[in-house]
């Protein structure tokens, strides 16, 4: 009886503490990243404008600020901040899911070739000058999404064996397809003789000039995947004990793999199609959180979304401000900060382990 009380307190206490910390950091990041930019907006003012926009609070908070501030915030910075969070959350979420189902530390949101598939679609459009053909600004996102998903279906078909998907074959198929599609993108980059190569920039990701409607496109994919993956988080924990163990506990292993892989891929394809390829988020965020909060997927899945959101939000703020008015590609920033930070955490954990034993 005593064990139970302590145990439950621990679990709930931890979930609560981690959740509050995560959400708190995210809110703080939103306010700070809205403040930073070519025109400085005071953080206090931002908070008031944000609170004013919450339905029901309007009457309590009188609009004392400069209308231009509100304009800059709501029309320029807020859409970008929102999209950065959604793209980051999607990539973080998908990364945790891929690592869970593939049980491979190098798996990330792009393991199954979604990014290279999407890149080929985008690169072909850009190469032939069709980036605004037929569907205007949505041409690249829609085509990239489709080629990304087609790539996944192809990889899954390639790996399938008697209705099952063996993990090793799946990862190898993904790697092979990625290498092939990557070479097509490189070829298109080499053939196009622009001074500033648009294809190259797309493959390094950017959130510039994206209005509210882009967030609107990613949001439904994110919400559906989040709910599905939350429901399957216990299944991912069980898979860590091995597929056969999980099956003996009543888990439909193959169905779980399909659903988790599809959910994670769709949300990745949606994010990539609007932002281009932003590497390292899906790899580093779940691993980093694993070191901090443990590998229980019931906590890791939602926190990877929160962590991914914070990470890309800051990376994008750095990308748009540090060399202002020039923007650095977002994918460059995510890798440039992510890799050393991850190395630092690994070394620190190694030292801690050394101290224990």
């Amino acid at each position: 009886m005593k064990t139970r009380v302590i145990q439950q307190k621990n679990t709930w206490g931890k979930t609560l503490a981690v959740g509050t910390t995560g959400i708190g950091l995210l809110l703080l990041s939103i306010v700070l990243c809205l403040a930073i930019g070519s025109v400085y907006l005071p953080a206090g003012e931002i908070t008031l404008i944000l609170l004013n926009k919450i339905p029901g609070l309007q009457s309590f908070i009188p609009a004392t600020w400069d209308p231009t501030s509100e304009q800059i915030m709501l029309q320029v910075r807020m859409p970008r901040v929102m999209l950065a969070m959604l793209v980051g959350a999607s990539l973080g979420l998908a990364g945790a899911a891929f690592q869970g189902v593939l049980r491979n530390p190098l798996a990330d949101a792009f393991t199954l070739g979604v990014s290279s598939g999407a890149s080929v679609g985008a690169a072909l459009l850009i190469y032939f000058g069709l980036q605004y053909a037929l569907l205007g600004q949505w041409t690249i996102p829609i085509v990239a999404f489709m080629t990304g998903v087609i790539t996944l279906v192809f990889v899954l078909q390639m790996a399938k064996e008697n209705g099952k998907i063996p993990i090793e074959t799946l990862i190898l198929s993904g790697v092979v397809v990625q290498a092939f599609l990557g070479s097509i993108v490189s070829l298109l980059v080499a053939l196009s003789n622009q001074a500033v190569n648009e294809i190259l920039f797309w493959t390094m990701g950017s959130l510039a000039f994206r209005g509210w409607e882009y967030s609107g496109v990613v949001l439904p994919y994110f919400l559906v995947s989040l709910l599905l993956l939350l429901a399957y988080s216990r299944a991912l924990n069980m898979l860590a004990l091995g597929e056969r163990q999980a099956a003996h506990m009543g888990l439909h292993v193959e169905r779980t793999k399909w659903i988790v892989l599809l959910a994670a891929t769709f949300v990745t394809a949606a994010a990539v199609s609007v932002s281009g390829v932003i590497g390292f988020v899906g790899l580093v965020v779940p691993h980093l959180l694993r070191l901090l909060i443990g590998s229980d997927y019931r906590l890791l899945i939602p926190m990877s979304a929160v962590g991914g959101a914070i990470y890309v939000l800051w990376a994008d703020t750095i990308a748009r401000t540090i060399l202002s008015p020039t923007e650095i590609p977002l994918g460059v920033v995510t890798a440039f900060i992510g890799a050393p930070f991850f190395a630092f955490l690994l070394i620190r954990r190694k030292k801690q382990r050394g101290a224990v034993s």
Partner: protein, 281 residues
Amino acid sequence: MFPYHSHQMNPAWNYGPVLSVQNISHSFGAKQILHQLSLDVQSGDWIGIIGPNGSGKSTLLSLMSRAQAPSRGEIFLQGRAINSYKRKELSRHMAVLQQEALPPVSYTVREVVEMGRFPYQSFWGLEKEDSQVFIDGIMERLQLEDLHDRPMDQLSGGQRQRVALAKLMAQSPDIVLLDEPTTYLDIHYQVQFMEMVRSWQNDCGLTVISVLHDLNLAALYCNRLVVLEDGKLVAEGSPDEIMTQEQLEDVFQVNTVIVEHPEIERPQILVSPNLPTRKVK
């Protein structure tokens, strides 16, 4: 008293063998592993499947657990074809301890034991009744209370095997299948493990089917032994009927002396260092 969560048994079934293997054959590629094997297991039995290496013991167990489907023949659980069970439904009736130990994951002992409740949980992970008290009982029973928040990768082999058993108990099955459960354990943990299974069986009317390498342990704990040789069932009966010099020489190619255990009426084997020369395999 150990709170045992009993669930609905198959209402159509109230007599006959709890598990019935009917005339199954199994091949892997061109190699036939099991030949037309039939076996009935009565409720409350502790069956020991014994036989030399490669005789098909583990294959038989994995067919019973539905991890693989037999090439031919059928298996019935409580009177119903095992294939007709839904996955979670099957896991509420049957729990399986694999030969490989639980991997050294970073989940805590308690978290792993709670995973055993999966077949009773809804899509969102909720259970009709709170199972925390039930899990507490298991932790206490298997002396895991002090280890409850210890990660699995910090446990010894014996402790990890106890967690595996606790996870099976959390499934509250009617039948457990154990595939060489004592292989990696020292002699203390071997006896401890078998005693824990026995007391679980006594309290809950459990049926146990186990593949065992150690014939003496098999003779001590099982009430029925099934002997496999080259994928065929060659003998079955009580330990007294099976543990004879002739039988063991025939199946295992060893010379033995059978003695009675001085404390309990069970046969025990002393092996002779001289291998029989009659039949060379």
